[in-house]
Symmetry: C2
Subunit: 225 residues, 2 copies
Amino acid sequence: MRIGELSRETGVAIPTIKYYVREGLLPAGRLTSPNQASYDAGHVRRLRLIRGMIDVGGLSVSAVRDVLAAVDSPEESVHKVLGAAQEAITPRTAAAPEGMEEARRTVAEVIRRRGWRVGPENPSFEKLAVALATLRGIAHGDFEEVVDDYAEACEQVAAADLAWAGRNAEVDGLVESVVVGTVLGDAVLSAMRRLAHVEASARRFESLAEGAGAEGTGVDRAAGR
Amino acid sequence: MRIGELSRETGVAIPTIKYYVREGLLPAGRLTSPNQASYDAGHVRRLRLIRGMIDVGGLSVSAVRDVLAAVDSPEESVHKVLGAAQEAITPRTAAAPEGMEEARRTVAEVIRRRGWRVGPENPSFEKLAVALATLRGIAHGDFEEVVDDYAEACEQVAAADLAWAGRNAEVDGLVESVVVGTVLGDAVLSAMRRLAHVEASARRFESLAEGAGAEGTGVDRAAGR
DNA sequence: GTGAGTAGATAGTGGCGCTTTCTGCTATCT
DNA sequence: AGATAGCAGAAAGCGCCACTATCTACTCAC
């Protein structure tokens, strides 16, 4: 397959494909003559993976490069790849807000209550603490009461993810499955969470005020601040 | 409070504050003389909200503007604000991948099974379908078997969110609570999902191969593709 | 042999999120 | 009263990013 076909197959413009090759996201084609190269199904898959991470996962090109570098090192442990994917997927290096110490304690507490074996050295530990500290700096309601519900839900999701990755690994390889599941799973999860929000508030408003001309998606007028 | 104090209080540089004012994210201070303005606690809160959405939520400045515009229109229904927040939080306008029709059917099926009352006109419906279609284009394992677990977890999360927003609304206003919960909740959820992944795979690998020198965080070597 | 397609390289583009610089002012300290 | 520090507002500039355009020299298919 030549570059034009690869482009048509994946919907990615030719100059963009060349750009990805230059940037090291995509391996170059096998040269059949000084100005002809051939691409195969691996390139199609890889390109789709790249576009998925960029378009759906919202990753930057350099984040994708980091993730793929981890995917490509064959002897790397899943642990490291997962770490790279997690590192790459989170936006920026958020400046530490106030109240981080308390937030870290909250996270450690949840982890303890759940019986998880993750330490503060895991980058997600810190990310979570930053998010919680930020939340406390903005909103008054105590988020700690919610955190355990989140944790329980996450356990369920993680179990499902693992089962899926296990099944998928037989074809695509474990590492790639983990990466795809992590990056795209986030997108799935947050879209679904929004749908669930709509339903949950529909349910609440209907029980509060019955039959007041619902708006289709359910959530209805409510006072601002 | 003058701009210098506002800057110190929030950790945001003065030119950046001015930039946010220009961009309409932050209301201007009240002028006390032609070249002096005073800012109050509302500005501090607002600035923290902006930085939280940008740093932790990963939103762009223009996305934040859209969200805040919705927050500020007092008679707007929660429905609309939630929609604006949801619109703003999702990255780009992902090009439609192949297999969208099947993906839409899958989403509709899950919604039906769950008894949710959300239609395809909800933007998250489409976002979810795009994510699923992309996933199918990349990975072989059937994600549909996982989708119901996700949905159940999301129900739990959404119920917790709603309860929190209800409590928080008494102080901060419902609309703002919903926005904060939606945007920052995503960050919390994905960080926590990663922690749960680590634990879940630790649990699996330990049951498969007992005592093979665990690496601290649990996940350990496994074959690549 | 002609036209469409290609590799590889360099330069350019538009948007984003600030940052710098400037001018005239004013609050505050000594 | 003078010195110093800070401020408002406007305009221009900057560095990065993700492409995109253009070019040359080739070659393959008809």
